[in-house]
Every structure is written in structure tokens, then in C-alpha cells.
Symmetry: C2
Subunit: 331 residues, 2 copies
């Protein structure tokens, strides 16, 4: 869904025009990597194949490469690697969230059970690392490995803070920085580094990925609250049910008079999803939804600002538009 009418962005297909053939090559590598002689494993792979959607991470990596120079063979492999890491986290996240729908298809846990979901996530992680280690140097493997560690730390911290409505905005930003922004930063980093970018452009693209990631996750959390499941294409409303303190909730608890704060805490402790409409109405009334939307837009703006270091190009324009895109629509 579009949260409001301000972010009018072109379609992803248009944004990816500068890297259309590179994305096709990345898809081919992904399909090759997930081809297996084991029948049951093959069925799971084909199922997960449906979850490729926006290809945001390969897109960021390839556009970053193109914005700094040329896309090389290593970039195609690395774009497949970051998508595999992302698919692994999707499969495990759906399990953690007990979600039923992903890209309008049943989740792995829904269709194949939680045990196959655990194993399929591990399988995808293993493919990411195995594919990465085909490159000549260890640079990417080290970066991907350390990125995966940080993502897991962020997710562990997030689960540990469920029901913790004392969480501060800074702590929330630290968690989403780890669990979401780190991988997007790494995509831009790898794209720029393997295109031979100088330190200045490298740093600006890392900053772009990081700010974009924060904007993306704040918007994702907002969609979970106010999105339309049939439009977004995945299970929504999970955060409230799991006691996840997201930015609108944190803002409302921190900046509301005592009476509204107490009312929100009572609603949060209540039976979800019965009370979700009341919670959303309260967060709208307190200005907390608007606050989070504004925060997402600020991070998106910071992302676009970081691109000032790059020379003008179609790829740079696409990156700018992607920064608009993530705060207008996520799925």
C-alpha cells in the first residue's frame, strides 16, 4: 500500500532498467545454485523460488556497482549471494512470526511444517556462503559472514525485547540497524568495492544503504500496523500480537499524557487482533504514526543526500528513486 500520496515513484522494473541484463544473470545463478538432485529438497527450492520479489538487495548491489563503474562477473555472483542470505532470513522470520503468507503464497512453515522451515533456512544460508567462497578473494566472504552475524544479533535482541515497552527509540534504531540496515549497507559496499570505487564513494554508498535500510524497516513496521494484507502480500499485524515495540508505539508511550499511555499499555496487553483497530486509532490520534512516517522519510532523505558524492548516471537516479520507493511501499 502507499502510506500517502507524497512518494510517487516509478515501478521497480523501470528503476532496474540500467541493470536489467545483470539481474537476469543473477536469477540464472540463483536457479543454478538451487538446483539439486534430491527430489524433496528440489520441491522446497521451487517453493522458495516464489519468494523472489523486489530483488531489492541484488538491485542495490548491482546499481551501486553501475553507479561507480562497471558491473563485473563477481557482482552477479554476489547479487545472488545477498539474495540467498535474504531468502534464508525470510524463511526463518516467517517461522519465528508464525506467518502464513509470503508473496501471496503459503510460507514454508505453513506448507511444509516448522522443521523443514528451520532446515530450509539453514540450507539457503549454506548456499549463500558456498557460492560466496567461489570468488577469488576472501573479502566478500568475510563481509557476508560478519554481516550475517550482525543480522542474527539484531534479531536475537529483537526477540529478547518483545513485551519490553520501556525500549527507547535509540535502542529500537540500534536493533533495526543490525537486523535490516546492515545487509543493505553490505549490498552497496560490495557493489562499490568490486567496481573499484574510491574510499569517498564507497563510504557514501555504505551510508546510502544504511539510511535506506532504516527507512525501509520503519516503513515495514508501519505497514504491519496499517497495511492491507491483500495488497502487501504477506501476513500483517504480527508485531502487535508478539509485543514488538515498534516506533509508533515507542513514540506514543514516550510522548503521551499518562492517561493515554496507560490506555495504550492496557490495549497492548489485551487480546490481539481484537484490539488492533483501537491501537491503530490511538497511535493515529497521538500523531505517532505520522511521527514514524516522518522518521522514515528523513532517513530516506539522508540516503539520497549520501548519493551527492556520485557522478550523475542512470544507476544513481535509480538508487535515488529506490530510496523514495522504500518509504512509499514495502512488501
Amino acid at each position: 500500500m502507499r502510506l500517502d500520496g507524497r512518494c510517487q515513484t516509478p515501478s521497480l522494473g523501470e528503476l532496474y532498467l540500467p541493470i536489467a541484463t545483470d539481474l537476469a544473470e543473477t536469477r540464472r545463478i540463483l536457479a543454478d545454485e538451487l538446483t539439486t538432485g534430491q527430489e524433496v529438497v528440489g520441491r522446497l527450492c521451487r517453493h522458495v523460488g516464489q519468494f523472489h520479489g523486489k530483488l531489492l538487495r541484488p538491485g542495490l548491489l548491482l546499481l551501486s556497482a553501475k553507479a561507480c563503474g562497471a558491473v563485473r562477473d563477481e557482482h552477479h555472483i554476489l547479487a545472488a549471494v545477498v539474495e540467498l542470505v535474504h531468502l534464508a532470513t525470510l524463511v526463518h522470520d516467517d517461522l519465528l512470526d508464525e506467518a502464513d503468507i509470503r508473496r501471496r503464497a503459503p510460507t514454508v512453515n505453513r506448507q511444509w511444517g516448522s522443521q523443514q522451515a528451520v532446515l530450509m533456512g539453514d540450507f539457503l544460508y549454506s548456499h549463500a556462503f558456498a557460492l560466496c567462497s567461489q570468488l577469488d578473494s576472501q573479502f566478500a566472504a568475510q563481509l557476508i559472514g560478519r554481516t550475517a552475524i550482525t543480522v542474527c544479533e539484531g534479531e536475537i535482541m529483537q526477540v529478547a525485547n518483545r513485551g519490553n515497552y520501556e525500549l527507547s527509540e535509540a535502542e529500537y534504531l540500534d536493533i533495526i540497524g543490525r537486523k535490516t540496515a546492515t545487509l543493505l549497507e553490505t549490498c552497496c559496499h560490495l557493489g562499490a568495492a568490486y567496481a573499484g570505487a574510491d574510499q569517498k564513494r564507497l563510504d557514501s554508498l555504505k551510508q546510502f544503504g544504511r539510511s535506506l535500510g532504516i527507512a525501509f524497516q520503519i516503513t515495514d513496521d508501519l505497514l504491519d500496523l496499517v497495511g492491507d494484507e491483500s495488497e502487501v502480500g504477506k501476513s500483517l499485524g504480527r508485531d502487535l500480537g508478539q509485543g514488538e515495540p515498534t516506533l509508533p508505539v515507542i513514540h506514543c508511550l514516550r510522548h503521551s499524557p499518562q492517561s493515554r499511555r496507560q490506555r495504550l499499555l492496557r490495549l497492548l496487553a489485551g487480546d490481539y487482533p481484537r484490539r488492533s483497530r483501537q491501537i491503530t486509532a490511538l497511535l493515529l490520534a497521538s500523531g505517532s504514526i505520522t511521527y514514524a512516517q516522518t522518521a522514515a522519510r528523513e532517513h530516506s532523505y539522508r540516503a539520497r543526500q549520501a548519493l551527492d558524492e556520485l557522478p550523475p548516471s542512470a544507476a544513481r537516479e535509480s538508487l535515488e528513486a529506490l530510496a523514495e520507493f522504500v518509504c512509499s511501499r514495502v512488501g
Copy 2:
């Protein structure tokens, strides 16, 4: 527990004497790798630290190195890597099996919930790959990546075959080959390769690890059936409860008269653990427990035979004794 009195083996401490200082260095690397600034993640790491037990995989890697030449710095890192991969599979396996006890401590899923168990397994996998990518060449990272893929395939196939009492012995051996023997083979492979072993010794140590792994898993499955939880130190009896067709069950169904076959199928379909004693008694009476014990010993013998290619050494003697050890006691 000891399944019978035939396999009298020295303690693991004695077997590991040729690599005592190397194991200490491996432990140091492991502790370093799992040190984190995040409090909640640190608590989980300390919890998982209790699960180091036999250090079978680091032991195999270091002894293989020593049996072929000298232990190098790379071996210490790789020994930590294979233990991290093993710990990751332990944490996820305990979750899949809904196990409560591991090395006489609560499992991660029991103490921290299934969500943290999924994430902690991912975290340990990521550390394994990140640590591996610190080495100069990609050789180990490629081998570890492909090994992890095969392990996952084996586990996915195993879960898919729960309740499939038509599974053949060859299919069972294929599954345990993937899920267990592959990693042990890789340990020996890495140990030998980084010690500069020639192709003949390399192949013989790979064969040793593979056969040892098959013997290990058959015995592990036997212990799940006839072991004593307080002695083994982990939850037992899970295979029957989950409809896992292990070797004694497969043998009994294939080689029993129709009446016993029907009785076993009725018992297997019945309420576990109420019927587990009856099942064990039936498998003992049919000679199927003995059959599986003999099979484990044959694979252990094949493992020891493969060592004939190596020159005599204390390390080779320890490997021989380890092959005895795995069919006499697993935990």
C-alpha cells in the same frame, strides 16, 4: 552407556593426548569468536558453551593433521569452524526434536524458546563461515559451505521420511551419510589437506571419516532406542516418537515374518512413549538390535582399515581408538 562389553576403549582425554595443546588453542579461538558486546547474545553464547562435549570434530581434524604431518595455525582455526558448524546443527536439531536436555543442561529451545533457538543456530553458522573466511585461501570455505549444504539435504530428507516405514536400508544409509558422515569426512579431509598429505593419505582419511560417521550415527540411533538418558546426557527416545525409521526398525520390517511385521507397525503407530519398551523388546527378539550393532562395528572396522595407508604414530593410534569409541559410546 556401553552397548556391550566388547569395545573397551581408553578415555577421550587419553586419545586426545597427541593434540592436547592444539585442542586448548581451538577452545581459545572458539571462546574469542563467541565473545560479543551484546548482553543477551552473550548469555546465549555462554549457554551454548556448555554443549562442547567430546569435541569429536575438532579432535578428528587435529588428529588427522598430526597423523599426516604437523598441526598448523590453520588447523586450530578450522577445528573451531567445524565445532561451530556442529554446535549450530545441535541447537537446531534440539529444536526440531523438541528435546529438553543436552549435555545435562537445558536445550536452548527449552530455556530460551524456539525463536531464540532458530536465531542462535543461524548465529553459530554465521560465525563458522566468518571464521573460515579468515584463512588465506577459499579451499576450506568452499568445502565447509558444500558440506553444510549436504548436511541440510540429509536432514531435510530425514524429516520428509518420518513415518515412511518403506524406507530401505540403502536410503537410510544415504540419509545418515549426508547428515552425519559428511561433516566427519570433511574434518579428516581438512586436517590432512592442510598438513600437506598426498592424495593416497588424503583419500584414506576421507574414507576413515566417512565410515566412522556411519558407525557413529547407527550407534547414536541405537542409543536413542536402548540408551539411558541419565548416562547419555540428552533426551532419548525421540526417533520412535517422531516416526524416524532407523536401522533396527528397517531391518525388522524387512526381515520378519508377516505377523511380527504387522505387530511392529501397530506398535509404531501407537502412543509413544507407552509402547517404546514393547518395541525395543520386539527389536531385540527379532535380532534387529544386534544387526544394527554389527553394522556399526563393520563400518568402524572399515574406518580402521582405511588408516593402514598412514605411517604408525600416536595420532593414528588415537584415530583407531576413536573408531572403537564411537561404536561403544556416543553422547
